[in-house]
């Protein structure tokens, strides 16, 4: 691999906000990957100082001045390669992210390939996201949580992961653009409000029944706990008596079926309606109700539990797209 070929091509480096935009970055091809190289602000100060020292040494014919100037200059030059080496070869092995609600930060767990040399002081960030510091030890597998603000619902797919470093002297910053194929599901931002179910009667269609909310159900008795039973309905009293796990059963809990439908809500903003429904799903799940969802033509049969909640929220996240 001709990993040491300098390529003096200037190429734009969009959306790399944390890097100072003083000069266009100089991309260097190292180990088959484009690495952008920039002089940092202190780096410019340092180079300015070198220039002053060089002029001073020439003007006064001071050989000690020459020696110190060239030593400092060479150290900066050598540090440039240390900086490049520090990012070259860093690449993600796997990336995954748990779904989040809009407005939160999506956290991508980036598992990095083990590296042959230790890489101190790496900074990982997505364009527009906060940088995260990482220190890779040689040969170890390490996972770094890189966050990205999830502004709106849907699939959040960052185009590229930027790995940058200023190691060792902080005079240069080398940044590698690493392609990542990872996306994070972003649920709508929950918007609190009254629970507005649209009761589904197969033929009737919907009737907005604000009064048909789930009233207080009657307690029927205890049943042995089964996986998936809502946590809120576990009889802690029975548990504390040493009778094992039991679930309280309420009349009407299975009999009533609630559907949520953004279309039955009042208001103009469809996003706001989705947010309302999102909050309703969360509330219904918390209350241990069985609920279904209808968005336009798509219908999700009523159900309960984490998987069902996720299915509904996913439907909301990706609705109308």
């Amino acid at each position: 691999m001709n990993g040491s070929v300098f390529s003096f091509l200037f190429r734009g480096f969009p959306s790399s906000r944390p890097l100072p935009h003083i000069l266009p970055a100089l991309p260097v091809r190292a180990r088959g990957r484009w690495i952008a190289l920039r002089v940092t602000r202190p780096g410019f100060v340092f180079l300015g100082m070198l220039l002053i020292l060089l002029f001073g040494s020439i003007n006064h014919g001071n050989n000690l001045g020459f020696l110190l100037t060239f030593l400092l200059g060479s150290m900066a030059f050598v540090s440039l390669f240390h900086t490049l080496r520090n990012v070259s070869g860093v690449s993600p092995a796997a990336v995954r992210a748990e779904p989040v609600f809009a407005g939160q930060n999506a956290v991508f767990a980036v598992a990095l390939q083990p590296v042959s040399r230790s890489r101190p002081s790496l900074s990982l960030h997505f364009p527009g996201g906060e940088p995260v510091e990482a220190h890779l030890e040689a040969g170890s597998r390490q996972t770094v949580n890189v966050s990205h603000p999830a502004a709106k619902r849907g699939m959040l797919t960052p185009p590229v992961l930027l790995v940058s470093t200023t190691y060792p002297l902080g005079l240069f910053r080398a940044a590698a653009r690493l392609p990542v194929e990872a996306s994070c599901l972003v649920y709508p931002r929950p918007l609190d409000g009254p629970l507005v179910p649209a009761r589904a009667r197969a033929e009737e269609g919907y009737s907005a029944g604000e009064n048909d909310g789930p009233g207080v159900e009657d307690f029927v008795g205890l049943e042995a706990y089964q996986r998936g039973d809502p946590l809120q309905h576990i009889s802690w009293k029975a548990l504390s008596r040493g009778q094992g796990l039991h679930t309280k059963k309420f009349e009407g809990q299975l009999g009533r079926i609630i559907y949520f439908d953004p279309d039955v809500l009042t208001g103009d903003d469809p996003e706001q309606k989705l947010s309302r429904v999102c909050a309703m799903v969360l509330k219904a799940e918390a209350l241990g109700l069985a609920y279904g969802l209808r968005i336009g033509e798509r219908l999700i049969e009523p159900g309960q539990g984490g998987a069902h909640k996720h299915q509904c929220l996913q439907e909301l996240a990706l609705a109308w797209t």
Binding site: N59, L71, R85
Partner: protein, 667 residues
């Protein structure tokens, strides 16, 4: 306690403080006491503030303090000298410590430390000073790494800093050798007003004695042949013509025109490494015939004058004639050579008239005055009693300094004897002048060269005799013969001159110390000559030996180009060396598997990304039952190697062989 008011000290502050102290300390002898105190106080405060979690002063307070310190530093130094510049820099760095709040502040402070180290290039470039500067750079670099990558102790960054320096050093040395040197400055030299000891262009009583208490090196001389005898080593500096009753000066008469020579009988050739003294003259062995230094001329009074003051160390060749008298034209001599104040020193004038009347000729008169100095109780001392006028005596006392010396105190250093002698000569109508320079020198036992120190400062007299020219007369040699045979310390009365290098007084330890100092001076001299004195001439020599002539005009363009090409080649080579890394070991198993999948993909059975090896096997077997047995064997081998416990070169090569021979054909 209000939590928000608790000061969180900067985590990097102590290492930065250490770097600042290390690079500022060597400058303390050169900056004013005031600046030293300010620095120490600020450092102390910063250290305590960080340990005790005190809060740092607000922006307004620091600005006010900075303004005060700035004014203080400027007023305690004379004008914009290098010392003032370094003092300001030291103050600036110290103040920066007080306002470190962000990463940028930290970086700026550390970078200023580098600047402070480099500022020391004007103060001393001996081997020791250079090593200390390299040590400072190492520490500063470690701190710079620490600032960028905090966490852990700063000391652990010493190793990467050392590695960085070691890698940079060869490149720095190549640049040092190849970077074109220009003789003289390009942009006009800023005035460096470093306080240096040396001769001014005038001498009053007491000046040379004061200079002679310093043991600083004035210059070093390497003779091509044997070192001439000690009492012939008169180092001619500035020639003083004018006398106003108090001070000898160079006078305003023109000294243009070339000096005149008798035939050179015994030329002595030597190389002088002159330490900077901020004046225009350069020193040469009496009587100088020529000095090879650009922009320097031998004046008609045989003093050598350089166009620019000597603000940096210079090296030049010289040729002298030890036996030469300096012929001069009579009309050039009689005017300035006989000038005296109208009045004053009546006793000296009458003494001159008496002695000249008895002697009859100029030659005999010179001998008579020397005899007067020898026979009367004159004393050679570094601490002559002051001859300044006593208050109330009026200007008459000021005008009669020579009288006071010749007839009252009779205790003086060389300038007293030389000045009085010249006065007596002129008073009798014999042209005379005072020459200031150095006499003698100490031979280094390791290098064989001569070290001339400020303590060897001397003044003597020259008398013009018709037919012969200017003849050197040294009345000090009559009063204190040891001065010429040994050195000042040897000629002084016991108890005086303890500050001078008279180590022989301290027995074995003194001898050992003397040897060590001699060895150090020997290495420093080499360092000065060959490293710090590396010049355009040396560079031309190196390139000439490499077959690249740089000295002619057309050669310079080629030479510069060559230098640039060499530099670029060096840089490229260096980058290649640095960027080439050991390739990671090839994953043979994965490669074999990929080959296998590619072969199947070619017949339309591509593996979907979500298919594991076993799923893939099922898929392929379903589509092409005829391939199933072979595929199954390969997949099984792969799974065993990748996910199972099987290991070893043997199994891998078996897999590779199976994949290689696997050639599915399209159905």
């Amino acid at each position: 306690m209000d939590v928000s008011r608790v000061h969180h000290p900067d985590p990097c502050i102590l290492p930065i403080l250490g770097a600042v102290a290390i690079c500022t300390l060597p400058h303390f002898p050169y900056v004013s006491v005031w600046v030293v105190l300010a620095c120490l106080l600020i450092w102390g405060y910063v250290a305590l503030a960080s340990l005790r979690a005190w809060s740092l002063p607000s922006g307004r307070v620091t600005r006010l303090l900075a303004a005060l310190l700035f004014i203080g530093a400027m007023t305690t130094h004379e004008g914009f000298t290098i010392e003032a510049f370094v003092a300001l820099l030291a103050i600036m760095v110290a103040m920066k410590l007080l306002e470190i709040r962000s990463h940028r502040d930290r970086m700026m402070t550390v970078i200023l430390c580098y600047f402070l180290v480099a500022g020391g290039m004007f103060f001393g470039d001996s081997i020791g000073a250079t090593l200390y500067k390299l040590f400072s750079i190492l520490i500063i670099t470690a701190v710079l790494i620490h600032v960028n990558h905090p966490g852990g102790r700063a000391a652990k960054h010493l190793k990467p800093a050392l590695v960085l320096m070691a890698q940079a050093l060869p490149l720095a040395l190549i640049l040092f050798l190849l970077f074109p040197r220009v003789q003289g400055g390009i942009w006009g030299r800023g005035h460096i007003n470093l306080a240096r000891t040396g001769f001014a262009d005038s001498i009053s009583f007491g000046d040379v004695a004061e200079l002679a208490t310093s043991s600083e090196v004035a210059f070093r001389v390497e003779f091509d042949d044997a070192v001439p005898p000690q009492d012939r080593l008169y180092w001619r500096g500035v020639v003083l013509w004018g006398f106003d009753g108090r001070t000898w000066t160079r006078g305003m008469d023109r000294r243009g025109g070339s000096p005149e020579y008798a035939r050179v009988r015994r030329p002595v050739r030597y190389t002088v490494t002159l330490e900077p003294h901020n004046e225009h003259w350069i020193f040469a062995l009496d009587l100088p015939v020529r000095t090879d230094l650009r922009h320097a001329w031998l004046l008609s009074d045989h003093s050598s004058y350089r166009w620019r003051p000597v603000t940096g160390r210079i090296i030049y060749r010289g040729t002298s004639d030890l036996d030469g008298a300096a012929p001069d034209r009579e009309r050039r001599v009689t005017g300035p050579g006989l000038q005296l104040p109208e009045t004053g020193n009546p006793r000296a004038r009458s003494l001159a008239a008496d002695l000249f009347g008895q002697a009859g000729s100029a030659e005999a008169y010179v001998q008579a005055v020397l005899a007067y100095f020898r026979d009367q109780p004159f004393y050679y001392t570094l601490q002559p009693p002051p001859l300044r006028p006593v208050f109330g005596e009026g200007s008459a006392g000021d005008a009669n300094l020579i009288d006071r010396f010749l007839f009252e105190s009779r205790r003086g250093f060389c300038e007293h004897f030389a000045g009085s002698f010249a006065f007596l000569m002129r008073a009798a109508g014999v042209p005379a002048r005072v020459v200031a320079g150095y006499q003698g020198g100490e031979r280094n036992q390791f290098g064989g060269y001569l070290v001339v120190r400020q303590s060897d400062a001397h003044a003597w007299c020259e008398v013009w005799l018709a037919g012969t020219g200017w003849v050197r007369v040294d009345p000090t040699g009559v009063v204190a013969p040891d001065r010429l045979r040994t050195n000042v310390a040897g000629a002084l009365p016991p108890g005086e001159g303890a500050g001078l290098l008279s180590l022989s007084r301290y027995g074995v330890f003194g001898q050992w110390l003397g040897n060590t100092l001699g060895m150090l001076d020997f290495w420093n001299n080499r360092w000065n000559r060959w490293v710090m004195g590396y010049s355009a001439g040396d560079q031309q020599g190196i390139f000439f030996r490499l077959g690249i002539p740089l000295d002619d005009r057309s050669g310079w363009g080629q030479g510069l180009l060559t230098i640039l090409v060499l530099m670029a080649a060096g840089a490229a080579l260096f980058s290649l060396l640095l960027l080439s890394q050991p390739k990671p070991a090839r994953d043979e198993i994965a490669a074999a598997w990929n080959d296998f999948c590619r072969k199947l993909a070619r017949i339309g059975l591509a593996r979907r990304p979500d298919q594991g090896p076993v799923d893939y096997l099922g898929y392929v077997a379903g589509k092409r039952p005829d391939l199933a047995p072979r595929v199954k064997k390969i997949v099984a081998a792969y799974v065993r190697l990748r996910y199972g416990t099987e290991k070893g070169e043997e199994a891998v090569s078996t897999l590779r062989r199976m994949v290689k021979s696997f050639a599915p054909e399209k159905s």
